[in-house]
Symmetry: C2
Subunit: 372 residues, 2 copies
Amino acid sequence: MQRFEGLDMHRKKNGSARLGRLCTDHGVIDTPVFMPVGTQATVKACPPDRLKELGVSIFLCNSYHLHLRPGVKVIRGAGGLHRFTSWDRALLTDSGGYQVFSLAGLTRISDEGVAFRSHIDGSYHFFTPTGSIRLQQDLGADIIMAFDQCVGYPATPHQERIAAERSLRWAQECKNAFNSQRRQMLFGIVQGGMQEDLRSESAKRLSDMEFDGYAIGGLSVGEPKPVMYEMIEATVPHLPSQKPRYLMGVGSPDCVLEAVGRGVDMFDCVMPTRNARNASLLTLQGRLNIRREEFTYDFSPLDPECGCYTCRNFSRAYLRHLFKADEILGAELATIHNIYFMLELMGKIRQAIRLGSFIEFSKEFLARWENQ
Amino acid sequence: MQRFEGLDMHRKKNGSARLGRLCTDHGVIDTPVFMPVGTQATVKACPPDRLKELGVSIFLCNSYHLHLRPGVKVIRGAGGLHRFTSWDRALLTDSGGYQVFSLAGLTRISDEGVAFRSHIDGSYHFFTPTGSIRLQQDLGADIIMAFDQCVGYPATPHQERIAAERSLRWAQECKNAFNSQRRQMLFGIVQGGMQEDLRSESAKRLSDMEFDGYAIGGLSVGEPKPVMYEMIEATVPHLPSQKPRYLMGVGSPDCVLEAVGRGVDMFDCVMPTRNARNASLLTLQGRLNIRREEFTYDFSPLDPECGCYTCRNFSRAYLRHLFKADEILGAELATIHNIYFMLELMGKIRQAIRLGSFIEFSKEFLARWENQ
């Protein structure tokens, strides 16, 4: 079954940016798409009906967190992640690989998998490629991810090669373990550190395994942005054009634009929601910290150009008050705004591609954003 | 102008319970009514559009808190509390008296007013009856309260007498300071500790001052419930029947029923919202702590009889997970449920009064509630 349709159009004016439609059992996703992160089966500070109003078509949950709490037995008992969360649109789970390396304690890695201790209670766990796929198939998201090894930055070329090779072997194990009857899509993940050759080679070899989609992992881990863009350029041309391309963990507006221009279709990032809870709000002029003194008597909306619930109803002074007074409402209103901002941006990007003006749109946006 | 209409009906079957309609510039309030508390200009963990969906017709803000943060200058600058909070239904502010005695440090009371230090930053403040009225008129709520002195429990008869006398003098000062052009209503507050005679006398003397409504203050401060009911009985008959009666700080379902049966029209309490944030949820069978182990695999709704957003969409297992994982969504979903529960209860109370079955309804409810 053909579940993704990618449409290159106006190549001269759009660069490699493309429109796409990804069909899931829980709705169609227009790409390029931004996916908010719902780590523990909830997008923090934003109820699901609000996410729907915002137009969110898919969000991401972390297998590592769900495995530890509440545990897959609970979610399977509920009838899967959609019913557990009361979310009838699409969901994606990651494989747990990234969190095992970034959050867990006493990690021990071998070719079989990764042994680690829970960051919550220190309990012992062992993740394998096959185990991660079984876990994710039980969780029941529409899109699930291969289990990979992510190296940090900086890493030696040797470390990057080891991790890339292991990720390719594990990708094949995941593919073998995957039961395609369950109507989920399995995405492979390209690793390769900061080496262009290794990225290109990994992309080619992964493409041969015929996944439902391809993610670019191990980026936005501390490297300079130009390096990240080079790695994307070294990867995308070697991925099949008729499959979606997903840049993992990337979501700042400038990086999204740069990556869309290089042919990426999907993004996820905690930035908009995490920043929101820290009073950092996205506007077309850049980030704005609403706790600042200067907003005490500022009765204008957060962003006069924005049409979100927060900007239509509340002033900067009120938002500042909520944050200063540690009120939960501050987190929710800020989260609504930041998600809305990202979805608006993605809508504008899709519209620009449709009209053949993506390169122009991107230049203008970045000029405004970077001159904040 | 007649702003309140109280309707005694089916006296034999309703006791002193009565229906009423209180007209404000921000909508009509059907009584008996429960008012959620929005201490710092927000009902904690519940956005205003959600409050509207729930059917909240009025909520209460605390002058003491707003005076300290963000300060009246900010709220006046915003155009008043309604515009600051983006709430176009009715609002009530208390006078600050209760918080000064319960929260502030180094309180020094005299006939002129109360000197205290902020619980936030230790800064020095002085509240007087006239000052409190000016503050509340600037805040701009639909209903504002006289500044009174609340004694704790237990207190000596002498202390109770002193406070009651002072509260009566201050009530007159508040009345004198009140500018009735501003289309607000000013309510007096009956004190008198736990002495029936003193309560009756205070009610009579306060009634002579002709307030727009009458509150019963200084109850639910630690006394046994039967004592509170006696104090209500000693007060209500001496208040004018054509004015609303408001029992301050009371809001547990059993106390609300007992007080409605004794002729009270209005209630406020932090209990439903505060309990919600502590995972304590209201059901017809009593309170339920959703963190309990037994709910781990309980995929039924919190309360199968409830029609709120939370109960229509989420399971006990999911709510338990949210609380165990410290997710903000847990607080919001629980708050929605508890407010809905209280408003449903008030709706059932009004319906029972209308049908002449309040005494019967009350008995049945209390039997269920107390046998939890």
